[in-house]
C-alpha cells in the first residue's frame, strides 16, 4: 500500500494488522529512549494547511522516533496569499527529495490530488470534512485495549455533518464490528445517510444508558452563524455530556474525544477529566499509530495488504 488517504483504503485485515503493529510502537514509546532506527534516511514532509499544532507534532514525533528526517511546512496564511498553489508547493518539496508527505488541508480531496502529483507516499492528516484516518486508528487502538470491539455499542455525538473524525470512525468501527449510533440534531447530521452503517437518534437521553462508549465531537462554534443550531446553551442542554447525563451512563461506559475539548460545552469538565475518560490515552496512542502507518508505508512495503 502506497498511501493512507482514508479508512476506505483498508479492509478488516489490514486495519487489524495496523493496530497490531501499533502495539509494538506503544511498547517502543514506553522505553527510556523511545526511538528505533527503522526509517533512518527517510524524509517525511509535513504540510499543514490548517492550524493544528497537536496533530502536526504527533506526526512529527512519530517520524522522529522512527529516525526519519522531518521537514515542516506549516503553511501560514501569508504564504498561501503569496499565491503559491498546492501543486507548486508539492513540486518544490519533491524536488528536495522526500519519501512521504503528511498533509492536512481544509479542502476534501486535497490528499488525493497530492497523491497524483508525487511519487512519495501520502498520509491524510485530515482533509476538509472527508477523512481523518489516523484519528480513527488511534481511537480504535485505544478502545480495543479496553473492550472487545465486535458488538460494542458506540454513540458518536455532535456535529457529524462537518466532521471528518466522525466519517472515519464510522467506517473503522463498522469494519471492526461495532454498532454505531449517531446522536445529533437533524441540521448537524449528514444530508443523506444512505449507505451509512449507523443508527440515528436526535435524543441523547434516549440512548445514553444503552451505549458502551460515548465518542464526543468538538462543537464548531462557527456553525452557529450558519443557522445550524440556535445557541451553544441549547446545544449543551440537548447534546452535551453534562454531569447529570454522565450519571446515567452504564457503570463501565467509556468516554472519548478527539480533542481539543470545549469543556462545559460538549462535555462537562469533571466528566472530561474523570475516570471513564480515555482522552489522554488517545493522545498517547496517536504517536504509536502514526509510527505504525509510517513504518507500513515506508518500511516494510508489505505489512499492509
Amino acid at each position: 500500500m502506497k498511501h493512507l488517504l482514508s479508512i476506505d483504503d483498508l479492509d478488516v485485515e489490514s486495519l487489524t494488522d495496523l493496530l497490531d503493529l501499533s502495539e509494538h510502537f506503544v511498547a517502543v514509546n514506553q522505553r527510556d529512549i523511545p526511538k528505533v532506527p527503522a526509517l533512518r534516511g527517510k524524509v517525511v514532509a509535513s504540510l499543514f494547511y490548517e492550524d493544528s499544532t497537536r496533530t502536526r507534532l504527533s506526526f512529527e514525533t512519530a517520524a522522529k522516533r522512527l529516525s526519519c528526517d522531518v521537514m515542516t511546512f506549516s503553511v501560514s496564511q501569508s504564504s498561501v496569499k503569496k499565491g503559491e498553489s498546492l501543486l507548486d508547493t508539492v513540486q518544490t518539496i519533491e524536488a528536495m527529495g522526500i519519501d512521504a508527505i503528511v498533509i492536512r488541508h481544509p479542502a476534501a480531496g486535497a490528499p488525493h490530488r497530492v497523491a497524483e502529483w508525487t511519487d512519495a507516499s501520502v498520509i491524510n492528516a485530515g482533509d476538509g470534512r472527508h477523512a481523518h484516518p489516523t484519528q480513527a486508528l488511534l481511537d480504535a487502538l485505544t478502545l480495543r485495549r479496553h473492550r472487545e470491539l465486535n458488538g460494542l455499542r458506540v454513540a458518536i455525538v455532535g456535529d457529524v455533518r462537518h466532521s471528518r473524525v466522525a466519517r472515519s470512525n464510522v467506517k473503522a468501527l463498522d469494519l471492526l464490528g461495532a454498532d454505531v449510533t449517531l446522536v445529533a440534531p437533524p441540521t448537524l447530521l449528514p444530508e443523506s445517510l444512505e449507505g451509512w452503517p449507523v443508527q440515528v437518534s436526535h435524543d441523547f437521553d434516549d440512548v445514553i444508558s444503552e451505549v458502551d462508549v460515548v465518542m464526543l465531537l468538538r462543537m464548531q462554534f462557527e456553525r452557529q452563524g450558519e443557522a445550524l443550531f440556535p445557541t451553544v446553551r441549547e446545544y449543551t442542554a440537548r447534546y452535551g455530556l453534562t454531569e447529570a447525563r454522565a450519571e446515567r451512563l452504564k457503570p463501565d461506559a467509556l468516554i472519548m474525544h478527539p480533542g481539543p475539548m470545549n469543556r462545559g460545552v460538549e462535555v462537562a469538565a469533571s466528566v472530561a477529566d474523570g475516570p471513564a475518560s480515555l482522552v489522554t490515552e488517545q493522545v498517547a496512542n496517536g504517536v504509536a499509530v502514526r509510527m505504525a502507518v509510517l513504518f507500513s508505508l515506508l518500511g516494510s512495503g508489505a505489512t499492509i495488504a
Binding site: V28, V36, G299, G301
Partner: protein, 186 residues
C-alpha cells in the same frame, strides 16, 4: 537432508549450557536474550539446562529486531513479538541466542536493539548452527554445530515447542525458482 537429529541437538544444548557457565565463571550476572522465535525457545532450554547443574535461575529475555534491520524497505518486515527483558542489562553479560548464524546482519541488528535497553558489560553470542558466509565481522562465542553450506541452500531448524514433532536441523538445496529438492526429514 538432516544434519542434526533430536539427540544431537540435546547434546549440543547441554554442551553450550556448560560452556556459558564456564566462560563466565558461573552465571551469576548472565542474562540470556533469545531472538524470536526459535532463538527464544533455545534460550529457554538453555536456562533450564543450566538450572539442572548449577542451581541457578538465569533470566531469559525476548528480543524483536524488526525495527533495527538493515533491509527495511527492501522486503516485508513484520514484528514478531514484544521485546521484553525482565532485568536491567546494564553491567551484565548478555548472551544473545539464535538458531542459525549466517550473514551476521540479524546479530548486528540485535546488538543495536540491545544497546537501546542498556549498556551490558559484554555481549556474547550463542547459536545452534553456524553456516558460514558472514557479511559482517561477527563471530559466535558458542556454537552447536559448524555446517558448511552453499549460498543457495536453506538451513531449517525445527524445535518441538515451536514447530511440533521432533527436533531436527535440515539442509535443503533450493532450486533457481525457489522450489525445494533433496528434502529428507529426520
Amino acid at each position: 537432508m538432516s544434519v542434526l537429529d533430536a539427540g544431537d541437538l540435546r547434546r549440543a544444548q547441554t554442551r553450550i549450557a556448560h560452556e556459558i557457565v564456564e566462560r563466565n565463571r558461573g552465571a551469576a550476572d548472565v542474562v540470556l536474550v533469545g531472538l524470536y522465535t526459535r532463538g527464544l525457545a533455545i534460550a529457554r532450554r538453555l536456562t533450564a539446562a543450566i538450572a539442572e547443574f548449577e542451581d541457578l535461575d538465569v533470566p531469559v529475555g525476548a528480543l524483536d529486531v524488526s525495527f533495527y534491520r538493515d533491509d527495511i524497505g527492501l522486503r516485508a518486515v513484520t514484528p514478531t513479538g514484544p521485546t521484553e527483558v525482565p532485568v536491567d542489562i546494564t553491567g551484565r553479560v548478555v548472551v544473545l541466542v539464535d538458531d542459525v548464524l549466517y550473514t551476521g546482519r540479524t546479530v548486528r541488528a540485535a546488538m543495536d536493539a540491545l544497546t537501546e535497553l542498556g549498556r551490558p558489560r559484554a555481549i556474547q553470542l550463542a547459536v545452534l548452527v553456524d553456516r558460514g558466509h558472514r557479511e559482517l565481522p561477527i563471530r559466535p562465542d558458542f556454537v552447536g554445530k559448524n555446517l558448511p553450506t552453499r549460498i543457495g541452500e536453506d538451513v531449517r531448524v525445527r524445535l518441538h515447542e515451536v514447530d511440533g514433532g521432533l527436533d531436527s536441523v535440515e539442509l535443503r538445496a533450493e532450486t533457481i525458482d525457489g522450489g525445494e529438492e533433496g528434502m529428507v526429514p529426520a
